[in-house]
C-alpha cells in the first residue's frame, strides 16, 4: 500500500503569519520578522532579544553617529562656513523642498484658467497683506533681541578687545622707546670707531626682529577679536533666519501673483490676440503705406500667438526634478547595459570559444574608470549629433511619455552610456557564469526530450542562469548609480551631479548643507534600488538557500 502524502493543516492565523514572514524574507527586511513573531506571541523573550539586536542596536548606533557629527562639525571652519550639523542639514533639506514646491506652484499658476486664477490670486494677496504685519513683528523682535543680547555680545567681545587694545598700546610705546633709544645712540656714533658702529648695526637688526614678533602677536590677538565680533548668538541667528524666510516668501508671493495675473499664459495669450487683431486691422484698412512691413507684423504676431498658446513657465531645475532625471538616466544606462550584457553573457556561457574571444575585452575594459570613459563618449556622441536639436534620436525621445519632460540631450545620453559601459561587466560575467554552471543532467533531459536550441535556451538555460543574472543586475545597478553622479558632475548634465556641482561653485554655507542633503538622498535612493533588485533576485531564485543581505 502506498502511503498518501499528508500536509499539516494550518489555521488561518498561522498561514497569515507565515505569509507575512515569507514576504519579509523575500524583501530582505529580516529585521522586521521578530516584530511579527512577537505580535503572533511566539517566544516573546527571544523576539525581544532579537528586536534589541536588530532594531535597537542600529538605532543607537545611528544616534551615536548623529551626536558625534553635531559635536564635531562646528569645530571645523571652512570658507563656506562651519561644517553643517544634522540640524542645519535638515533645515537645508526643508529649504530644498520648499523651493521645489514654490517653483511647481508658479508653473501651475502660469497654466490656470481665469476662475482658478482669480481665486488663488485672492489668497496670495491676502497672504501678502499679512506678511507686512509679520515682517514688522519680526523686525521689532530682532531689534529687541539684538538690544537684549548687546550686553552679552559686549561681554563676549570685551576680553579679546581689551587684550588686543592693551597689547597694541604696549607695543606701540615699546617701539617708540626702542626707536628713541636707537636714535640717541646714533647721535653718538659720529665720534665712535668701527667696532661700535658694527655693534649698532646689530642693535638695529634686533629692533627689527622684535618689532616683527610684536606684529605677529598683535595679529593673532586681532584675529581672535574679529572672530569674536562675528559671533552671532543662536537667538539672533534664529530671528535673522525668520526674517530671511519672510523676505523669501514675499519675493515668491509677488512673483506668484504676477504669474496669476498679467504674467499668466491666459493674459499673455489675450495680449497677443489683441496685438494680432490690431496689426491685422491696420494691414487691412491701411490705404497707403508700407504694406510689406505691415504684413510682416501680422505674420510675426500670428507666430507669437501660436508660441504663447503652448508655452510653459520656464521652471528651474529643482532637486526633485534633478533626482528624477538622474533616475531616468541611470535606468536608461542600465537598460542599455542589460541589453548588451545578458545576450553576450549567455553566448559566453554557451560557447567556451566565444568566451575566449570576449575575455581580453572583459579583462581590459572592466577596470577603466568612468571618468575616462565619459569624455571619450561625450566626444563620440557629440560627433553623431552635430545639431542635437535636429537629431532623429533626440526628436524621437522627445515623444517618449516621461522622458520628454526631462530634456534628453547629448549630455544625458553620454552619462547614460557611461553608466552602461561601467556597469555591464558585472551582469555579463554573472550571466556567463550562470549559463556555464548548468547541470549536465538538465542538458541530458533536454536531449532526451529532443528540445531545439530555442526551447533549450528558454526552458533550461535561462531559468538556470536567472538567479545569477539578477545577482549581476543588482551589482550593475549599484555600480551605475555610483558612476552616474560622477558622470553628471563631469558632463554638467542636469541631475543630482549637476546639483552638487552647482552647490560647490556657489560656495555659500547653505549650499554646503545642501550637498550633505544630497549625500543622504543618493544613499537612500541607492538603498531602495538595491532592495528592489534583491526582491527580484529572490523571486527568481528557486532554491531556499541563501538569504539577502
Amino acid at each position: 500500500m502506498v502511503p498518501q502524502i499528508q500536509f499539516p493543516t494550518l489555521t488561518a492565523d498561522l498561514i497569515m503569519k507565515y505569509k507575512i514572514l515569507k514576504a519579509i524574507d523575500i524583501s530582505g527586511l529580516n529585521f522586521l520578522s521578530p516584530v511579527v513573531r512577537l505580535i503572533a506571541q511566539e517566544d516573546p523573550r527571544k523576539q525581544l532579544h532579537e528586536i534589541g539586536r536588530f532594531i535597537i542596536v542600529p538605532i543607537v548606533a545611528f544616534a551615536a553617529f548623529l551626536f558625534l557629527w553635531s559635536a564635531l562639525a562646528p569645530k571645523h571652519r571652512t570658507k563656506a562656513g562651519e561644517v553643517p550639523t544634522p540640524g542645519v542639514v535638515w533645515d537645508a533639506s526643508k529649504g530644498v523642498w520648499l523651493f521645489h514646491k514654490r517653483e511647481t506652484a508658479k508653473a501651475d499658476a502660469y497654466l490656470m484658467n481665469s476662475a482658478e486664477r482669480r481665486k488663488t490670486l485672492q489668497q496670495a494677496t491676502t497672504r501678502l497683506a499679512r506678511l507686512d504685519a509679520l515682517e514688522a513683528e519680526a523686525n521689532r523682535q530682532i531689534s529687541d533681541i539684538k538690544a537684549a543680547s548687546k550686553e552679552k555680545f559686549d561681554a563676549y567681545v570685551a576680553p579679546s578687545k581689551t587684550a588686543y587694545d592693551a597689547k597694541r598700546a604696549e607695543f606701540r610705546t615699546a617701539k617708540i622707546n626702542r626707536e628713541n633709544s636707537l636714535k640717541e645712540k646714533a647721535a653718538l656714533l659720529a665720534t665712535q670707531g668701527t667696532d661700535a658702529r658694527i655693534a649698532y648695526l646689530a642693535r638695529i637688526r634686533e629692533n627689527a626682529v622684535t618689532t616683527e614678533q610684536e606684529k605677529e602677536q598683535l595679529k593673532l590677538l586681532k584675529t581672535t577679536y574679529t572672530e569674536a565680533q562675528t559671533k552671532t548668538f543662536p537667538e539672533v541667528k534664529k530671528a535673522q533666519q525668520a526674517i530671511t524666510k519672510l523676505a523669501e516668501e514675499r519675493q515668491f508671493l509677488s512673483k506668484y501673483s504676477e504669474m496669476l495675473g498679467a504674467g499668466s499664459r491666459e493674459s499673455k495669450t489675450t495680449e497677443s490676440e489683441s496685438l494680432l487683431a490690431e496689426s491685422k486691422n491696420k494691414f487691412l484698412t491701411a490705404t497707403d503705406g508700407d504694406f510689406y512691413r505691415l504684413g510682416n507684423t501680422v505674420v510675426k504676431s500670428e507666430d507669437l500667438l501660436a508660441t504663447t498658446e503652448t508655452s510653459h513657465y520656464a521652471k528651474p531645475w529643482t532637486l526633485p526634478k534633478q533626482i528624477v532625471r538622474s533616475l531616468l538616466c541611470v535606468f536608461t544606462g542600465f537598460l542599455v547595459a542589460s541589453a548588451i550584457a545578458i545576450p553576450i553573457g549567455i553566448l559566453c556561457g554557451l560557447s567556451p570559444t566565444f568566451m575566449a574571444a570576449m575575455t581580453p575585452f572583459i579583462a581590459l575594459f572592466k577596470p577603466v574608470s568612468p571618468l575616462v570613459w565619459l569624455p571619450i563618449i561625450m566626444i563620440i556622441v557629440g560627433g553623431f549629433m552635430p545639431e542635437p536639436e535636429n537629431h532623429w534620436l533626440v526628436k524621437a525621445l522627445d515623444h517618449v511619455p516621461i522622458l520628454k519632460n526631462y530634456k534628453v540631450d547629448p549630455m544625458f545620453l553620454s552619462s547614460a552610456l557611461t553608466v552602461a559601459l561601467c556597469s555591464l561587466w558585472a551582469t555579463l560575467v554573472n550571466t556567463a557564469l550562470g549559463v556555464a554552471s548548468i547541470e549536465k543532467d538538465h542538458l541530458n533531459v533536454a536531449k532526451v526530450l529532443r528540445l531545439g536550441f530555442t526551447a533549450r535556451l528558454f526552458k533550461i538555460v535561462i531559468p538556470t542562469a536567472l538567479p545569477l543574472i539578477f545577482a549581476g543586475l543588482r551589482i550593475s545597478l549599484a555600480v551605475g548609480w555610483m558612476v552616474l553622479v560622477a558622470a553628471e558632475i563631469l558632463s554638467t548634465s542636469q541631475g543630482i551631479g549637476k546639483f552638487v556641482n552647482d552647490m560647490y561653485t556657489n560656495g555659500s554655507s547653505e549650499s554646503f548643507a545642501q550637498m550633505f542633503v544630497v549625500v543622504f538622498i543618493v544613499g537612500i535612493i541607492g538603498m531602495f534600488l538595491d532592495r528592489i533588485m534583491i526582491i527580484f533576485q529572490r523571486l527568481v531564485s528557486f532554491d531556499t538557500a541563501g538569504s539577502a543581505i
Binding site: 543532467d441 536531449k447 532526451v448 526530450l449
Partner: protein, 296 residues
C-alpha cells in the same frame, strides 16, 4: 527477436593515444517487454551503459540499435530515469511533467496535455503535491516525479539508472512495488541498473552482472524464473530465491576478489616500524588523529 541491442560496443575516454576503456565488447540483447536488470559495483560503468543505451553518448566502436534501427541520438522513445532525479527546480511537479509531455506530444491540445499530466501524477500518487516545487519534496517524492515524467513520455524502452539508490530502505521498497505495479499494467521494455541484488531479483526477468571496470563487460545472465506478481514477504522463504541470491552474490564477490587480486599483483614490503610507546597522542578536536611517532 531482440528489441534493444548492443553489438560489440566499446566506449572509452581520454585521448586516442592514451585511451581508457570504460566498457569493452559489450553485447546485450533485450526482447520486447522484457525486464532486464544490470547489476554491478559502483564505478564499474553502469551509468555509462545507460548513456549508451539512451543515445546520450556515442560508442567508440560497435553499434547500439533499437527495433533494428541504429541509435544515433537520444530521444523520447527511450525514457531515462536519472539517478539524481534531474528535475528542473524552478518548475512545479506539474510543470516538470508538463514540459516533457508538451515536447513529446506536440499535437496535444491544452486540455489533453493537462489530463495526460494529471493521469501520471495520479499514477505515482502525487496529486496532493501537484503544485509543489522539487525542493519542497522528499527524496522519494522527487524520484516519483522523475518516474512520472519518464512514464508520461510513453517511451518504448524505460532506462532506469539506479533510480532508488539515493533513497532509504522503506521508501525504496514502496517505490519498487510501485514501479512493478505500473510495469505489470503497461508492459514495457525495461533496463534497470542497480547495485542491489534483492531489488534485481524482485523486479527483473533476467539479471546481468557487469564485471569490474575498467574495460568492464557484461557477464553471463542469471534468468529469474520466479512467478509474478512477486511478493517480497513470500520471496524470502522461497528456496529458488535464496539460491539465486547466493549465486549472484557469490559471483559478484568473486568478481570483486578477482579484480582486487588483479590490481595488487606486486606486494609491497611494508617498512618495519612500530610505535615507540602504546600511549596514543592527544586527539585533536575534529577527530584528526596525528600519526603515531615513528621508531628511529
Amino acid at each position: 527477436m531482440p528489441f534493444l541491442e548492443l553489438d560489440n560496443v566499446s566506449i572509452g575516454f581520454g585521448p586516442e593515444s592514451d585511451r581508457v576503456d570504460i566498457l569493452k565488447d559489450v553485447n546485450l540483447s533485450v526482447s520486447e517487454n522484457e525486464f532486464v536488470a544490470v547489476i554491478g559495483f559502483s564505478g564499474s560503468g553502469k551509468s555509462t551503459l545507460v548513456s549508451l543505451l539512451a543515445g546520450l553518448e556515442p560508442p567508440t566502436s560497435g553499434t547500439v540499435s533499437m527495433g533494428g534501427k541504429a541509435v544515433t541520438r537520444a530521444g523520447p522513445e527511450r525514457g531515462v530515469m536519472f539517478q539524481s532525479y534531474s528535475l528542473l527546480p524552478w518548475l512545479t511537479v506539474f510543470g516538470n511533467i508538463e514540459m516533457a509531455v508538451k515536447s513529446v506530444f506536440r499535437e496535444y491540445s491544452r486540455t489533453e496535455a493537462k489530463a495526460h499530466v494529471e493521469r501520471y501524477i495520479e499514477m505515482v500518487h502525487l496529486t496532493p503535491a501537484r503544485d509543489k516545487k522539487p525542493h519542497e519534496l522528499s527524496g522519494g517524492m522527487r524520484q516519483r516525479v522523475s518516474l512520472a515524467r519518464t512514464l508520461a513520455m510513453q517511451p518504448e524502452v524505460l532506462l532506469l539508472d539506479e533510480p532508488l539508490s539515493a533513497l532509504d530502505a522503506l521508501t525504496r521498497a514502496v517505490l519498487q512495488d510501485e514501479i512493478l505495479q505500473i510495469w505489470e499494467q503497461e508492459k514495457r521494455t525495461v533496463v534497470l541498473i542497480t547495485n542491489d541484488v534483492d531489488e534485481a531479483i524482485l523486479m527483473a526477468d533476467r539479471i546481468i552482472p557487469l564485471t569490474m571496470g575498467p574495460a568492464a563487460t557484461l557477464a553471463e545472465p542469471f534468468p529469474v524464473t520466479l512467478a509474478r506478481p512477486r511478493d517480497r514477504r513470500a520471496l524470502n522463504d522461497s528456496i529458488e530465491y535464496q539460491h539465486l541470491k547466493t549465486d549472484i552474490t557469490t559471483y559478484l564477490l568473486d568478481l570483486n576478489r578477482e579484480a582486487r587480486s588483479l590490481r595488487s599483483k606486486t606486494i609491497f614490503q611494508m617498512p618495519d616500524i612500530a610505535p615507540r610507546t602504546f600511549k596514543l597522542p592527544p586527539v585533536k578536536l575534529g577527530g584528526n588523529r596525528k600519526p603515531a611517532s615513528r621508531a628511529s
